[in-house]
């Protein structure tokens, strides 16, 4: 596949790996922000190939992991009690909230459908005019344009029975929250390539300057990841801090202008609660008031009591990079992908699940068991 196989080339990957080994002289903690990057690192076995001094810290960029429990409770409530057709991206279905997951609700008879595109949900609404259709609009800046477009689309088609339940989160405020956490110790960032494809890179310059920390916008293939890590380590070893773009074949400085316009048409920035990280100011999107008839929060009066996280789960510390999944006493014991205590064990992009599935930690579990 063009533009993929080239970035999975063993020779090139080994070349960057050697360069990283050659230049590394001291310990560095590098956070890959996006769950897709975490997935790529573990799937390709990159973490064990890096020098011992380079530690990858897995960031909060997994939408499944940071969507608050009460919103999932709300989605289940809408599907079960209000009789709506709830449409969702596939990977949200397994997240267990206060009691159950969307998959459990589906098994119990709720009409919950896995879709690939939110525009499909508008078609579902058109095909079921006697039912309310709600799309569970989760994700980072990457999914925001398509979710916004579904609202514009429904508005243009005069589809009255469609709305979205938003849980949109933004990457730059989360990066600042991680840097500002007293316990975290991040030397540099791999910024999320897909998010920057949409938003451009201008939001990251001020973070580089303010915190004097290198940020390299990085892609997802093994050669991208190794190249990005090399660029961060190179800056750190030279004692500089700059914003660089490793993923320039996809990411333009200004981002995708059309997509940004679409987001701005439908959404506005507001404070948001992140699962495991708490409230972060100006870190999410909500539907603007002029589209409020498409906002499920406005349309359905649901008062869900804020649910509590499982006390044994250290997801918050994992998401901020303070602890590794294997540091959790419940990892692989009470908490497994079949029975996740916290969200990072659910999606394959979640740090805990990624470790569980791919990492040598699995062997540790075997030897302990």
């Amino acid at each position: 596949m063009k533009f993929l196989t080239e970035y999975r080339d063993e020779e090139l990957a080994q070349k960057y790996l050697k360069k990283i080994h050659d230049i590394t002289t001291q310990e560095w903690n590098i956070m890959e922000v996006c769950g897709g990057q975490t997935h790529g690192l573990v799937k390709n076995g990159i973490i064990e190939m890096l020098p011992d001094q380079v530690t990858m810290i897995h960031g909060p960029g997994c939408h499944v992991c940071v969507t608050p429990i009460h919103l999932i409770d709300k989605a289940i409530y809408l599907a079960e009690e209000k009789g709506v057709i709830l449409c969702s991206f596939g990977d949200m279905l397994r997240v267990t909230c206060s009691e159950r997951s969307l998959l459990d609700a589906k098994a119990g008879g709720a009409d919950i459908r896995i879709l690939y595109s939110p525009l499909e949900a508008v078609s579902v609404a058109q095909a079921n005019p006697d039912k309310e259709v709600v799309f569970f609009a989760v994700g980072f800046e990457t999914t925001a344009p398509a979710n916004a477009l579904s609202v514009i689309h429904a508005h243009q088609l005069n589809v009255k029975n469609y709305s979205i339940l938003t849980s949109h989160v933004l990457v730059p405020p989360a990066m600042e929250a991680v840097i500002n956490d007293e316990e975290s110790n991040i030397s540099g960032f791999l910024a999320a390539g897909h998010v920057c494809t949409i938003m451009g890179i201008s939001e990251y310059g001020p973070i580089v300057d303010k915190y004097k920390i290198p940020i390299v916008v990085t892609g997802f293939e093994p050669v991208d990841l190794l190249h990005g890590i090399y660029m961060v380590v190179s800056q750190l070893e030279r004692g500089v801090h700059e914003l660089e773009n490793q993923y320039s074949r996809v990411v333009r400085s200004e981002g995708n202008v059309k997509a940004i316009e679409t987001i701005k048409e439908v959404f506005e920035v507001q404070d948001r609660v992140w699962r495991g990280m708490g409230s972060i100011s100006e870190s999410g999107y909500e539907v603007k008031s002029n589209y409020k008839e498409f906002d499920a929060n406005e349309k359905f009066d649901v008062d869900i009591i804020a649910a509590e996280e499982n006390a044994d789960c250290i997801a918050g510390q994992v998401l901020k990079g303070i602890k590794k999944p294997v540091d959790c006493p419940q990892f692989g014991k009470k908490c497994k992908p079949e029975f996740p205590l916290g969200a990072p064990m659910v999606s394959s992009e979640g740090a805990c699940a990624a470790y569980y599935h791919f990492h040598q930690a699995s062997q540790m579990i075997e030897s302990i068991a």
């Binding site: 993929l4 063993e10 080994q14 279905l93 999914t143 079949e338 394959s348």
Partner: protein, 345 residues
């Protein structure tokens, strides 16, 4: 529907509860439909069961088919129901001989659709050289089924030179795969509501008894174990073998054959092809010294054109499947957890 075998003139165009009631409509459905298409000496007796002799050891297996949609690119539920059981028998080292065929039909199923499925069953059973010798038809109320469910049970006669057994798996054995993986699961995904995407990807459903019989006859006891990686894909089958044999399995990602379009669809949907279902691929654990010859012999069969050695059984990391990634790293391949769900980014 083929022109050579048009649907007979019937008094109904839809399946109703009466078709499962045992009366005249049941008889019309069987006489003009099932019995006519699948006729053979044993079925023609219309007895409560089939009576037959088979010499020597036999393999015995059963499988139920509940696929939705019932027609998919490259096949349908009827063809799948025959091939699935034929292949399970083949994996035991058996020549498939007799099959049973049981339908659970949903009230309202169009007779044209049922006829098309029956024609597929006829064609697939002829291709596999098996006789359908007994069966059953039940009808459930509308809304209590998903158009049609099929169960097939099969018996096969173990090939004289076959010696297939998990106990025979040993370190050093080579792991072979008979063709490109993941086509079936992706073809189904491509037409599921909400995930539709345009592609030319066809299900790989096909009978595997012939290539299996060929290699068993040529290489006999060098073939230690055979498995068809259907649900849960290759990763799940290999994890079962590692767990049950107590040995480790080491794979080379670069050697696993996969079609470019299928790979692309997996990338887009965020699915790992190792976990995607196959219906026309088998895996073999074979004596290392014969592996290349077995693969090259398989490649002569068009349905196994991409056969390859993809890994080995090892003493290290017992019960674990480890894969060498395309760039030389290593990772654990676990059993599939729950259902594979598409990722969004």
């Amino acid at each position: 529907m083929t022109l050579s075998c048009p649907m007979p003139k019937l008094d109904f165009d839809k399946i109703t509860l009466a078709h499962g009631g045992g009366g005249t409509l049941t008889n019309q459905l069987l006489e003009k439909g099932v019995f006519k298409l699948l006729e053979n000496d044993l079925l023609d007796t219309h007895h409560d069961g089939a009576v037959f002799n088979i010499d020597g050891p036999i393999a015995f297996t059963t499988d139920s088919f509940v696929i939705s949609p019932i027609f998919f690119p490259g096949g349908d539920i009827g063809e799948l129901a025959i091939n699935g059981t034929v292949n399970d028998l083949a994996m035991c080292g058996a020549k498939p001989v007799y099959l049973s065929l049981a339908f659970i039909l949903e009230e309202g199923l169009l007779m044209t659709e049922f006829w098309e499925i029956l024609l597929s069953i006829q064609k697939a059973s002829e291709a596999a050289g098996v006789k359908i010798v007994t069966g059953d038809t039940k009808v459930v109320e509308h809304g209590k089924g998903d158009k049609i469910y099929i169960n097939t049970t099969g018996v096969g006669s173990i090939l004289p030179s076959a010696d297939i057994n998990l106990q025979r798996v040993e370190p050093g054995d080579a792991i072979i795969v008979s063709n490109q993986i993941a086509a079936h699961g992706i073809s189904i995904m491509s037409i599921r509501e909400g995930l539709e995407f345009e592609s030319d990807i066809l299900s790989d459903t096909r009978p595997l008894h012939k290539p299996v019989q060929d290699i068993i006859e040529k290489y006999g006891s060098d073939i230690h174990l055979l498995k068809d990686p259907t649900r849960g894909g290759m990763a799940s089958v290999l994890n079962e073998i590692a767990r049950d044999s107590k040995y480790g399995i080491y794979l080379d990602e670069k050697k696993i054959p996969i079609d470019g379009q299928v790979k692309g669809a997996c990338e887009i949907l965020g699915l790992d092809p190792l976990y995607v279902a196959n219906e026309g691929v088998f895996m073999g654990i074979v004596k290392a010294e014969s592996a290349d010859a077995i693969v090259s012999s398989l490649q002569d069969d068009p349905s196994c054109a991409h056969a390859a050695v993809i890994g080995h059984v090892v003493e290290e990391h017992p019960t674990q499947v480890v894969i060498r990634s395309g760039i030389g790293g290593k990772r654990i391949v676990n059993m599939l957890v729950g259902q594979q769900l598409p990722r969004i980014c």
